[in-house]
């Protein structure tokens, strides 16, 4: 190494170059993630109607208001219910798709593309198809036409709350949009399983099918499964697009299906513009997500390598 490069690579230079490379990103992340977070915490202690420069300190008032607000608690309930439907459904469907596609001897790329293609669709476009064509009101929807073939009654899918048919619409949109993405994760996991394990299982007399899946495939997919579950729950927490686009119309948004982000959107940026209250809600939500992520990661031992 020449004297010149040695000088260039000296510790002082290295520190400088580290910040040349990492600095712009770190500063931006600080400015647009950490600053809003801290600002949010600050705002949440103030009465901030229609203003971002509040003067009236209310202490924990916004927090107690939020935690005593049935609508906010209801939004958390909506999230829990949504998670209870969407997480197992997506998990089962994407794993099944991966297992079926993985064993295909022909047209594997074709089927993989078909199932992955909805990933390219936005929630807005998918909601439009679901709302105005597939599950449309009482007339001219595909679902109602199919029901008609079997002589069944037509349903106003999005406005029927008992039984909650709107739930079917909301869950299927997300299922369609995201199953292909998780299928790819499972496919990656499946490809890492050593063929020798299957050979050994066959020697031990395990019948292909359920037995092999239960004792070899599924345990080997543990790390992938944990990551998929974690991502599914975090994404469910952020559900906004499909709820907003499926359920709101010119008359407003129905109160029975507001997940947290939709609720915060209307609180902070709706007619009230109550940014203090909205910030308190955002802080509570961020804490819940952080705790849930850490607990879940600990619980499943995320990051631990398989034996």
């Amino acid at each position: 190494m020449s004297a010149r490069t040695a000088r260039l690579l000296g510790p002082q230079r290295r520190n400088l170059w580290f910040w040349v490379f990492v600095g712009p990103f770190a500063v931006g992340l600080g400015l647009f993630t950490y600053v809003p977070l801290l600002w949010s915490v600050y705002l949440s202690f103030f009465n901030a109607h229609n203003t971002v420069n509040p003067t009236e300190f209310v202490g924990l008032g916004n927090y107690t208001a939020m935690l005593g607000d049935d609508a906010f608690l209801g939004s958390l309930g909506t999230f829990l219910l949504f998670t209870a439907f969407i997480v197992p459904a997506t998990f089962a469907l994407s794993l099944s798709l991966a297992l079926m596609v993985n064993r295909l001897r022909f047209a594997q790329a074709f089927f993989r593309s078909v199932f992955f293609l909805p990933t390219a669709c936005s929630y807005v476009v998918a909601s439009l198809i679901w709302k105005l064509s597939l599950f449309n009101g009482v007339r001219f929807g595909l679902a109602n036409t199919v029901l008609g073939w079997f002589g069944l009654d037509q349903t106003a899918w999005l406005s029927t709350t008992s039984p909650p048919w709107y739930w079917l619409v909301i869950v299927t949109v997300r299922l369609w949009l995201q199953a292909g993405f998780y299928m790819i994760l499972f496919l990656a996991g499946l490809q890492r399983i050593s063929p020798q394990l299957y050979e050994a299982a066959a020697m031990d007399g395990a019948r292909p099918g359920w037995q092999v899946f239960r004792h070899i495939t599924f345990p080997q997919l543990r790390a992938t499964s944990v990551a998929v579950l974690l991502l599914l729950v975090i994404n469910a927490f952020q559900a906004f697009d499909e709820f907003y686009n499926l359920l709101s119309d010119a008359r407003g948004y129905p109160p029975y299906a507001r997940p947290p982000l939709v609720y915060l959107y209307y609180t902070a940026l709706g007619r009230d513009q109550n940014l203090g209250l909205g910030s308190a809600g955002a802080v509570i939500l961020a804490l819940i997500i952080a705790v849930a992520t850490v607990v879940q990661a600990r619980w499943f031992g995320l990051g631990r390598k398989e034996d």
């Binding site: 010149r4 490069t5 260039l8 520190n15 170059w17 580290f18 490379f21 990492v22 712009p24 990103f25 931006g28 993630t33 977070l37 600002w39 949010s40 079926m100 593309s113 078909v114 199932f115 992955f116 990933t119 390219a120 669709c121 936005s122 929630y123 807005v124 476009v125 998918a126 909601s127 439009l128 198809i129 105005l132 064509s133 597939l134 929807g141 595909l142 008609g148 369609w176 496919l187 990656a188 490809q191 099918g209 790390a223 992938t224 990551a227 906004f240 697009d241 907003y244 686009n245 119309d249 982000l261 915060l264 959107y265 902070a268 940026l269 940014l275 955002a282 961020a286 952080a290 992520t293």
Partner: protein, 278 residues
Amino acid sequence: MHDALTRAGRALRVVLLVALALLFLVPFYLLVRNGLAGEADITAPTWAFFPRELHWSNLTEVFSDPDLPLGRALLNSTLIAVSTTVGTVVLASMAGYGLARIPYRHASVVFYAILGTLMVPAAVTFVPSFVLVSTLGWISTLRGLVIPTLFSAFACFVFRQYFLGFPKELEDAARVDGLGYWRTYWRIVVPNARPVFAAVGTIVFIGAWNSFLWPLVIGQDQSAWTVQVALSTFTTAQNLNLHELFVAAGVSIVPLVVVFLLLQRYIVAGVERSGIDD
């Protein structure tokens, strides 16, 4: 007997796969069908698989409707998606390289500070971020729509992981030739890391093109609407032309389907290599 059972099982699986594939394609069919149908066909009392007539003129009509600023929205979406993708890839790859390759005493502190933001989903900070952007006077501007979204901890993480596994010999050779970090990075590392750039780039592009909450909150003026916001405004409005809406939606997914079909293998490779399932 056993053989016959396996064969039957395999056949059943193929039938099931074909059925599921058709089910997954139905929404795309509905999009195209309604886009090309006349209004009467879409709202017909009984739904028919094929519309009675096809209106190819819908394709041009939708661009001339003054109520639905589709051309402008497409332009905005393109500008936003392209600049977000370029910006994110440049910033995150540089940071990822610095974290992976330049020895610095506090590098791990910086890394965990970046990683920690993954725990706070961007969507949850939309209220304070909105406050910040409006304080800066960036509402309804390209800056406001793009700059706050450029700092993706996820992208930085993917690049760092990739560069950690990058063969060091190439860089050592460059150093011996007297290249500093800056030139080593741009002349040697970047050209040899094209797959990860393509993978992260496509994922970011898809995310930026499809994002909705941020453009809804920040792009308030009609002149700043993205395609997604424009479409959403019309699905939730009272009087709408369904066929126009479906054409517009169909047009809006074309860029992504093209990107997707061209770069699919990079997306798949990127997802597989990103380490999120490790």
